[in-house]
Symmetry: C2
Subunit: 341 residues, 2 copies
DNA sequence: ATTAGCACTCATTTATGGAGAGTGCTAACA
DNA sequence: TGTTAGCACTCTCCATAAATGAGTGCTAAT
């Protein structure tokens, strides 16, 4: 399927105009379009062809045309290709380094939402590939231990552990040393059975505590996979009439509040792209409530394959160029911030 | 302003009916109301009186009546008075004890939102009156310390500290002992200047570290006052037509996402009621976007004056009885959970 | 191959005219 | 004197109809 030069120009004009106005665009509008001196009648003929190709759609007879999902896809693919080389002047967003990952991520989504006027989300870096930096067990009282786990990138987790028998300070001190000397610098996935057995052996009679700590560690990670995601600007969807009728808006905002589905989307995007930018148009995203939206995601890196994903959700007629630029710029900044860590 | 018995009955019938249907209620509807054998004409006369008193309103000529804010207020005041003694069969909500405060609070709002079909929020217990349980400084690398702060009720905070000069393990160990022996068991507000001076003295050349730790502590607390609030069920507002037009819904959900204003509301409610249940009707709440809502709050306790607030936001015609019951039940459970801590 | 012209289609807007619900008032009644 | 039936009146809420206008597809002329 090859588009003639003129067809391409017309198609482009339709997309551009529709992105701006959000309303079906007719042949006369296009005929007035700059550097295109053709009458509306001719354009009508061309549009009929484009429609037959499935690139544009008529919402009803005697209305203008709007891009189909396939049309958007073509446009975006072309756009991305073109962008590949071109390094544009990127608008700077002010992301400041933060001590705590959580604060940083919240800031990122907030700034991004304000900049783009779309809804945004970000997933915390995937934990199981991150290296352990530090473990600290502290005695809270006779039956409780607090385990603090710090990983590369200063992701801090804490988990409370309960024991039946009494804990004594000295033992905990020895365990701390043991755990740190053995585990520090390892990625979570490197902690295998052999290592665990060895640890337990060395811990002697306290092996039960060791296994509880490791369980806790695993559990803490598991929990994160499920939950750790931040969103912002959900209400931006009200700025786009095609999304803001009660029904749709409610569903969408619900998806945002729940976050569960968002996690799977971000994870999928991360797995499939490695480190690029990905666009889901309408039903391409695996979330039903987003069938009228487009989602653009980017994966950021935190050294050695450890990565998270940031995403922007808007109407299908979102400003893809701007969004892609914003994400690229953001991605660079994040990579930078994590680099000097 | 004294209501005759009959006027009261009519007023009550109007409120009850309106709470159910959400539509203006007319004289004929009331005349069919059980144990009230009066003709519609008579009721019309009474209603005219009630309207003059400002208790009910006519949205337009020849429509039924709806309660005014003043009317709701009267109803709620009476309701609360009546409830005071009566201990009703309270529906149980399943709140499970959790290790971490955050998890617990999130669970609470979720369950509450599901139970009531309104939007819910909860503020973490106020920090500055809580007693310190434990402080732990850990060396992360040459220039960074991780401070972990645990308070009563197992609220865990961590904060990363940066230093120019090198840190050594021994010093940190000594500081840990010093901080814990001195501060454990104290409420934050008890850490006064005298104590600080004494601490610094004992720390000798490491007094700089001490003051940084204390700063961090203060800052961590400050931050909490601003942010620590959890919400759930924001999308429930779409279940009530009077709140779910684009404009209103957008504003409301925004308020929920922002949380800043919610904090001030919850704090105010806590200050003014001590430990009871409070109802804000329409503009009584200090948040403009909630002018069409009612808010019911309850303060829960966590031993010795440490308290947080939980709130429910719904349309003005919310089911106050049910909401108050739910909150009371919840309050009891929370008090119980924290008690055995 | 392009374009002007025209008939035709459909969403959107504006008027119009009940139907229904509910009121306020008056006059009759117990 | 309090209560009620009756009635005219006032609104909102629909549904239907008519006018508008944007945009198309097709045909015939250039």
């Amino acid at each position: 399927m090859q588009l003639s030069d003129r067809k391409w120009k017309i198609f482009n004009a339709i997309i551009k105009t529709y992105l701006e106005t959000g309303e079906p665009v007719g042949s006369r509008t296009i005929s007035k379009y700059a550097d295109l001196n053709i009458s509306s009648a001719t354009i009508r003929n061309e549009m009929a062809d484009l429609e037959e190709m499935g690139l544009i759609i008529q919402p009803h007879t005697s209305a203008g045309r709007i891009p189909s999902d396939k049309g958007y896809r073509l446009y975006v693919d072309y756009l991305m290709e073109e962008k590949e080389q071109e390094v544009r002047q990127q608008q700077e967003m002010l992301i400041q380094k933060q001590d705590k990952m959580e604060t940083l991520l919240k800031q990122v989504v907030r700034v991004l939402a304000n900049n783009t006027n779309y809804a945004t989300m970000i997933s915390a870096p995937r934990y199981d590939a991150t290296k352990l930096k530090f473990i600290q067990l502290s005695v809270i009282n006779e039956e409780q231990l607090l385990a603090v786990i710090v990983t590369e990138g200063n992701l801090v987790k804490n988990k409370m552990l309960h024991f039946r028998h009494e804990l004594n300070n000295e033992m905990v001190l020895r365990l701390n040393i043991l755990l740190n000397t053995t585990l520090t610098g390892l990625a979570i996935e490197q902690i295998n059975l052999a290592l665990i057995t060895k640890l337990k052996e060395e811990a002697g009679i306290h092996s039960e505590v060791v296994s509880k700590v490791l369980d806790a560690l695993a559990e803490a990670i598991q929990m994160d996979e499920d939950v750790e995601i931040y969103t912002s600007g959900a209400t931006n969807i009200f700025k786009y009439p095609e999304l803001s009728d009660s029904e749709r808006a409610s569903e969408l905002i619900n998806t945002f509040e729940d976050k569960k589905e968002l996690v799977s989307l971000l994870n999928e995007s991360m797995d499939s792209t490695g480190t690029g930018i990905q666009v889901y148009i309408g039903n391409e995203a695996p979330i039903r409530t987003m069938r009228d939206c487009s989602v653009v995601t980017a994966t950021y890196e935190l050294g050695e394959g450890v990565q998270g994903t940031v995403g922007i959700i808007g109407p299908k007629r979102m400003d893809y160029e701007k969004v892609v630029d914003s994400l690229k710029s953001l991605k660079n900044q994040l990579d930078l911030i994590f680099e000097r860590d």
